[in-house]
């Protein structure tokens, strides 16, 4: 595991010596600020509207967590769908392009140490992005009183989604020597993963057979959407955690197999 630390450290430093980390951080903060203000003003408008029209019942349903923070995190989740592939696109592809793949694979290092080291570096970047989000959310606590635990669960949801996306991005980076292809491939995969849920819902509405129902249930489970929504509403259950663990595990296994595959040919 010493090697893992060395590899993760090198990867993190190369994030910050190249423009990648800065570009992602700046974009994330800008989009975060923009969507935050957007959600905030929409929240204010809703409150003002219900007050003027004396719809007190509706007014009660508009609370900071469900209306403001939940919506904000959902938007940021889509931002992650584009930015995390930007972080992971070079992880393995640039090793192939540089020829440093030969250095790694001829060093006394196991494939798992390489894969974990690189994944941990990307995970650290995702953690930094989540911290930016936490800072923005902190502003709400200054001016209002949202549920701290529910908010924390939402942040955990964003973090876990980011970690799962980083695993998918590691895999796509390991199948090509071009970072650009890795980027588009992972955005594509993440989009599919996201769409599985809504697609399954549409299917469920039409399907009648129990067999089709089973398949759709699996698809629904595989989609990242439902699990994320559960977490952002403050529902931390083991099924959601198992889901993200499953996605991370499967894609890291695929990454290992793919990076190693140069040896099978």
């Amino acid at each position: 595991m010493r090697h893992t630390a060395a590899i993760a450290g090198r990867e993190l430093r190369s994030y910050f010596t190249s423009p990648v980390a800065y570009a992602v951080l700046v974009l994330f903060s800008l989009l975060g600020g923009f969507f935050f203000v957007l959600q905030l003003s929409s929240f204010n408008a809703a409150v003002a509207f219900y007050q003027q029209t004396q719809q007190l019942q509706a007014l009660e349903s508009v609370n900071l967590n469900d209306y403001l923070i939940f919506g904000f995190y959902q938007l940021m989740w889509l931002v992650l769908l584009i930015l995390v592939p930007g972080l992971t696109m070079g992880l393995f592809s640039s090793e192939k392009a540089n020829g440093t793949e030969e250095l790694l694979l001829t060093s006394p290092v196991t494939i798992w140490e390489i894969v974990l080291g690189k994944y941990l570096a990307a995970a650290a970047m995702v953690t930094i992005l989540t911290a930016v989000l936490a800072a923005l959310t902190g502003i709400v606590f200054f001016y209002g009183d949202p549920e701290p635990l529910q908010t924390a669960a939402g942040l955990a949801g964003v973090w876990l989604v980011g970690l799962a996306y980083a695993a998918v991005g590691s895999f796509t980076s390991s199948v090509t020597r071009s970072p650009l292809i890795a980027f588009f491939f992972s955005v594509f995969l993440l989009f599919i993963l996201f769409m599985l849920g809504p697609a399954a819902d549409m299917g469920m509405a039409g399907a009648t057979g129990s067999e089709a129902d089973g398949v759709l249930r699996v698809l629904r489970w595989l989609s990242s959407e439902g699990h994320f929504n559960e977490l952002t509403t403050g529902l931390v259950d083991t099924r959601a955690l198992a889901y993200f663990g499953f996605i991370i595990g499967v894609f890291l296994l695929l990454t290992k197999a793919s990076f190693e595959s140069v040896r099978w040919r």
Binding site: S14, G99, L103, L105, T106, P108, R263
Partner: protein, 260 residues
């Protein structure tokens, strides 16, 4: 030090390396020759653990490359055809990183890096990003990463390709100093692939020639040149003519190849 027994590498129907065996004793410098596409790089990649052999075995410093891959790799320094460097990294931090990968103990790391920098003449550029260095210097960084963990065996794939005549001379001197024994210790055992026959004559004691994946010559250099023969003539004779046949001139390698 190096023991290779009938290694073979097949890609589908194509046999890149076909039943190659040889051995090298401690401190021996072997010139590994052959036309392009003969299987030199593939053989080196097998020895360094980058690729597994389809058949056959090999051991480095007594460690079987398939059964004890990590130990074998720890005893090997490898310079691939293009130096495996990260352009954005500084020379010193790159070598420190490599020394971590190669299991140089923490307490000895700085010393090992300084030593590699000095031997390769890189001390003055140790804070420069590798991407800004000239090709000759990048090649030196490639050699420095191969020797930073003081491996017993060095495998160098065309270390002077693409360099200008002055740089070639510098690298050649560097390799000669790596091969020479120092302070009573034997020098590195070196397998060197190259197309420059003068380089072989200057550095190597023994020549192995492969053609179409097969070993066609394995002979001490002085035997080849003893009767006024030249390496050029032998190379041309063995690689230009159609039939490989029974031209395997097995020299006295069995005797000289004493186990390290």
């Amino acid at each position: 030090m190096i023991e290779v027994n009938g290694i073979r590498k097949r890609y589908g129907d194509f046999v890149a390396v076909d039943d190659v065996s040889f051995s090298a004793g401690a401190g021996e410098v072997i010139g590994f020759l052959g036309p392009n596409g003969a299987g030199k790089t593939t053989t080196m990649r097998i020895l360094t653990g980058f690729l597994p052999a389809t058949d056959g075995t090999a051991s480095i410093a007594g460690h079987d490359i398939h059964k004890a891959p990590l130990e074998a790799r720890r005893a090997t320094g490898y310079l691939p055809e293009s130096p495996p460097v990260y352009p954005e990294m500084e020379v010193r931090s790159y070598l420190t990183y490599v020394s971590k990968l190669k299991d140089v103990p923490r307490a000895k790391r700085r010393e090992a890096v300084d030593r590699a920098l000095e031997r390769c003449g890189l001390t003055d550029v140790d804070r420069r990003p590798i991407g800004q260095l000239s090709k000759g210097y990048r090649q030196r960084v490639g050699i420095a990463q191969a020797i930073v963990h003081e491996p017993q065996v060095l495998i160098l794939d065309e270390p002077t390709v693409g360099l200008d005549p002055n740089q070639i001379l510098e690298i050649r001197e560097l390799l000669a100093s790596l091969a020479a024994s120092k302070d009573g210790e034997t020098g590195h055992t070196i397998v060197l692939s190259t197309h420059i026959l003068a380089e072989v004559e200057a550095l190597c004691r023994r020549v192995i020639l492969i053609r179409q994946g097969k070993k066609v010559l394995d002979q001490p250099l002085d035997e080849i040149t003893r009767d006024g023969g030249s390496l050029e003539a032998v190379f041309a004779r063995l690689t230009l003519r159609g039939d490989v046949g029974d031209e395997v001139a097995s020299g006295s390698d069995a005797e000289t190849g004493a186990e390290g």
